[in-house]
């Protein structure tokens, strides 16, 4: 019987290995594609098994090479890690499928697949890493790969955007490494569990170190997760990337850095710190600004992909808002939103990518009547947009519900109002997309639907949007456990 205890490392290793093999077999593109998809599928299955196991038996700890902490490197799969890596593997499998079957956008396909595989491996690694330095290493791998999957498009704009992303990302990495150094100074540990225990004793003696570390980390991971006002790289980068990359970046990568932040700031430094320092207020203000400013920027966009990118800035604000409200339901809402935003933003980016490829139109004002030419694709876009606005019956409503309830629980009705205001604003920028597509004079008759293989990911994600909108209870236990773990 296959032992599940190796599954966590296997997930990372499978993806990494596939990432190295795929470029080697680039001459046989079919093999490369099969390998690419196979790795994704295998990891998805593993992540389901792991999540089931974690739900049943509690946290899994894997000692790499048999060396236990604090000396060895460990992978820790708690409910949070299991949940996020489930999200990553499922969403990335859908994106893998799309990347394989969608029309070509990049020159070196096998290389592109390899980069995506590396990125996915790194994301799983970030989520499961038990020690802070490995987390950093995975963050670096993912940063590099994330920049690379933008640049592969090879256009003027994408190279420029990716370079800007790279510089800011490197700055962020510097901040993160610096904060790790400071924390190491105080604790002498790198393992996050031991760090936590030591910090409980020593944090009081070196408050300045911990404070500086926290500040550097907020900036470092804030840049990478595009927390307003550190988001300036995001709209260009996400809007100019190939379709699959945009979906991957907006849907997953940004959120993984939030997970890393939660891991270090909440689960390692501990909650007590949040009550001592004004960090919570700072995060709340930044998140609120992200929501308001992001929405305002999104409203004035005519380019669809830029609109979606700004919407990501808003949604990152949602997630940070939920985490910094610090009430059980708000944290649950934020945890929900990690999944739900991944589903809907991936759906929207993929669908919009399909539309752009089929029609050549990049602007909302050009979409007139396209809904009749591409009924299925636009049905998916409509569903995704409704979900973004948070219409009941779609997944977006669930996270909105939990976040708003959480804001009231925390006694902060004003943030509930903010969430609702942002829903209204998102209606203002998403509905024109739907309205122009369905009403008004007809589009050119040459535009047609893509092949079924390309539409399949869209349909799957749309069904997921509906499913979680109506039946959120399926994942509720995992979400609850995750929130409880974070609020510990």
């Amino acid at each position: 019987m296959f032992s599940l205890s190796h599954a966590p490392i296997l997930m990372v290793v499978t993806l990494l290995t596939a990432g190295f093999i795929v470029p080697l077999v680039r001459k046989h593109l079919l093999v490369a594609k099969a390998l690419f998809l196979g790795a994704g599928l295998l990891v998805t299955i593993l992540s389901f098994l792991v999540a089931g196991n974690v739900l049943e038996n509690g946290t899994m700890v894997y000692n790499v090479g048999g060396w236990a902490a604090p000396h060895g490197i460990v992978l820790v799969v708690d409910a949070f890690a299991a949940y996020v890596s489930l999200v990553i593997s499922v969403i990335s499998l859908v994106i893998f499928w799309f990347a394989v079957f969608a029309p070509r956008e990049v020159k070196y396909e096998a290389g592109y697949y390899a980069l995506i595989l590396l990125l996915t491996a790194a994301m799983h690694g970030i989520v499961m890493a038990g020690d802070i330095f490995n987390l950093f290493v995975f963050v670096e791998i993912s940063s590099l790969a994330a920049v690379a999957i933008i640049a592969v498009k090879g256009t003027k704009e994408s190279v420029e955007a990716s370079f800007r992303y790279l510089i800011l990302s490197a700055l962020g990495s510097g901040g993160l490494l610096f904060s790790i150094a400071l924390l190491f100074m105080v604790t002498g540990h790198l393992n996050m569990d031991f760090m936590r225990q030591t910090l409980a004793v020593t944090a009081g003696q070196y408050p300045l170190n911990v404070l500086t570390a926290l500040a550097f980390m907020v900036v470092g991971l804030g840049v990478k997760s595009a927390l307003f006002p550190l988001h300036i790289w995001l709209p260009d980068a996400h809007a100019n990337a190939p379709t699959a990359s945009s979906a991957l970046l907006s849907g997953l990568v940004v959120k993984v850095y939030i997970v890393a932040f939660i891991r270090i700031a909440y689960m390692t430094l501990g909650m007590e710190l949040f009550y001592l320092l004004p960090i919570r207020q700072i995060l709340l203000v930044m998140a609120s600004l992200a929501i308001v400013a992001g929405s305002v920027f999104a409203i004035v966009q005519d380019n669809i992909k830029r609109l979606l990118a700004f919407s990501t800035v808003v949604q990152v604000g949602y997630i940070f808002l939920g985490f910094s409200l610090l009430s059980a339901r708000a944290v649950e809402g934020a945890v929900w939103h990690i999944l739900i935003h991944a589903i809907m933003k991936t759906l929207l980016f993929l669908a919009v990518g399909v539309v752009i490829h089929q029609s050549g139109y990049k602007k909302i004002s050009q979409l007139h009547g396209l809904g009749r030419r591409m009924p299925l694709t636009f049905a998916c876009i409509t569903l995704g947009a409704l979900s973004m606005v948070g219409i009941p019956g779609t997944a977006g409503f669930i996270s909105k519900l939990y976040l708003a309830l959480g804001a009231l629980d925390a006694g902060q009705a004003i943030f509930a109002g903010l969430i609702l205001l942002s829903s209204l604003l998102s209606a203002v920028y998403y509905f024109p997309l739907i309205i122009t597509a369905y009403f008004g004079h007809d589009a050119s008759p040459t535009v047609s639907e893509p092949s079924i293989a390309v539409q399949l990911p869209l349909v799957v994600l749309s069904l997921a949007v509906l499913f979680y909108g109506l039946m959120p209870s399926v994942l509720l236990p995992l979400v609850r456990q995750t929130a409880a773990l974070i609020m510990r």
Partner: protein
């Protein structure tokens, strides 16, 4: 498991399923499409009617689905109020849809109209049969959003503009409702409607929630100053859709307000917190402005739309007085206004369909050409003015008595004033159409029948209801309204 097959759930689910079915079959057969679209409200109506004896006996229906959308869950219920409103809504919907099958022949994109009409029906039935605020809110959103498609049906620039305004306001209203709902949940830990309300102390967040409710429902019901979308949106929609919007969908706003006032806050809590005053002030403004502005409207459908605004003010008045008599008037007026306004819009639509005349001044002498239509229009308009024994009179009578009970003479005067204004904008129109001389003679050559029966029959049925229901020995609608008001007041006077 079997809970799904209970009446209130079925009355919602069947239209919802038929929406999908119509969408799938409509390209193959337009007959089947039309038949299914007519069938949906009929099934809902019959299902509710089958529960009539049971509910009259005092045996209310309540079904809960706590597992759907935790932590709030969903539930459905039928009591006197939802039975009355549900019956009216599905009946009017049924008649209007029959009318639409003929009216829409001239229109484009019929394949879009019927499914979305059915979807809107599902939302409306869900609103009415919901057993708690959260379910109410969910279906309210479904109804509001699918109604957008009906409003912009013509796709003219005016329709798109009006539709956009409607959409933004309706979403804002939905968010206000959402906020209010979760605020109530936060305060009380439950959102299930309960007789006498369940909020123990009305203060702070609860007051905020009440105003949020007022905004949300006010937008839907067209309460001044939140009515700005209504006179734009109702006229641009195709006439059957206008009839549904004005006749039926506005009522969900005031229906929700009734639920909130009596089944969430409890009228005593409202009175103690002084929240009834805000409703009364809004009602007075709405009645006055709605009626006054209607006088100056040349476009018949805009005139009818403004008239609807004024009539919603009556119902708001009936709620805000917090008197059983007045509430009876308000509840009965839901029924009365639904039938009256639907017949007015259908008649106006028939004229526009046949002659294309939207301006009231062009209607002179139309009575000779379209006798039945104009008779229907006349009956409904007289009822709006409040001539006994038509339905409009009954609700005004009860409302006036309720105002007197509350010791408030001012509102009686306001009702009289508003009736006067109704008279001013309906009567000359009636006079002109029935007795005026038609200027042009080109229409006389037409010997064709006035209208197809599918358009005439629904109007005639509605007119007969308006004319006859109060002549029954026991007016069934008034009886239900009395029971409903009694239940909402728990027998306390």
């Amino acid at each position: 498991m079997l809970l799904i097959f209970q009446t209130p759930v079925l009355a919602v689910i069947i239209p919802l399923v038929l929406f999908a079915v119509i969408y799938l079959v409509e390209r193959r057969s337009w007959r089947l499409r039309n038949a299914l679209a007519v069938l949906a409200p009929l099934v809902s109506f019959l299902l509710l009617l089958s529960n009539y004896p049971r509910v009259i006996a005092g045996d209310f229906v309540f079904i809960e689905f706590p597992a759907i959308l935790p932590p709030l869950g969903m539930s459905f219920s039928i009591d006197y109020l939802s039975l009355l409103v549900g019956l009216v809504v599905s009946l009017v919907w049924f008649l209007v849809t029959i009318y639409a099958t003929e009216y829409m022949v001239k229109e484009h994109a019929k394949n879009r109209y019927y499914p979305f009409s059915t979807l809107t029906l599902a939302g409306t039935m869900g609103v009415i049969l919901s057993g708690d605020l959260f379910t109410f809110f969910l279906f309210f959103e479904l109804m509001s959003l699918s109604a957008y498609v009906l409003i912009v049906h013509e796709e003219t620039p005016e329709a798109m503009r009006a539709g956009y305004r409607y959409l933004v306001l309706t979403i804002a209203g939905g968010l206000a409702l959402f906020f209010a709902t979760i605020a109530v949940f936060e305060i009380a830990g439950t959102v299930t409607f309960a007789p006498g309300g369940f909020i123990a102390e009305v203060s702070g967040l609860a007051i905020l929630a009440f105003y949020a409710f007022l905004i949300g429902f006010g937008i839907k019901a067209g309460i001044v100053p939140l009515h700005v979308w209504l006179p734009e949106a109702h006229p641009v929609a195709p006439s059957p859709a206008s009839a549904l919007l004005s006749g039926v969908m506005l009522k969900t706003g005031v229906y929700g307000l009734m639920r909130v006032v009596f089944n969430v806050f409890g009228y005593e809590g409202i009175r103690e917190a002084g929240l009834d005053n805000s409703m009364l002030v809004l009602a007075a403004i709405t009645i006055f402005l709605g009626s006054a502005v209607a006088i100056s409207q040349e476009d018949i459908k805009r005139r009818l739309a403004y008239s609807s605004v004024g009539q919603m003010g009556y119902i708001l008045l009936g709620i805000g007085l917090l008197q059983e008599r007045a509430l009876i008037g308000a509840i009965f007026h839901i029924f009365a206004h639904a039938t009256m306004k639907a017949s007015l819009f259908l008649a106006a639509g028939a004229v526009i369909h046949k002659t294309g005349k939207r301006r009231v001044s062009d209607w002179t002498g139309l009575g000779k050409e379209m006798t039945v239509t104009m008779l229907v229009f006349t009956i409904a308009a007289l009822s709006m003015i409040g001539i006994p024994p038509l339905v409009g009179f009954v609700s005004k009578w009860e409302l006036a008595l309720g105002s007197l009970d509350a010791g408030n003479w001012g509102f009686v005067l306001l009702l009289l004033l508003s009736s006067m204004m109704n008279f001013i904008y309906y009567f000359p129109l009636i006079q002109n159409t029935l007795f005026g001389k038609q200027q042009s003679t080109e229409g006389q050559a037409r010997k064709s029948p006035e209208l197809p029966w599918k358009m005439l029959a629904p109007m005639v049925v509605l007119a007969l209801i308006i004319l006859l229901i109060d002549l029954f020995p026991q007016n069934p609608a008034l009886d239900l309204a009395k029971r409903a008001a009694g239940a909402l007041f728990l027998g306390v006077h």
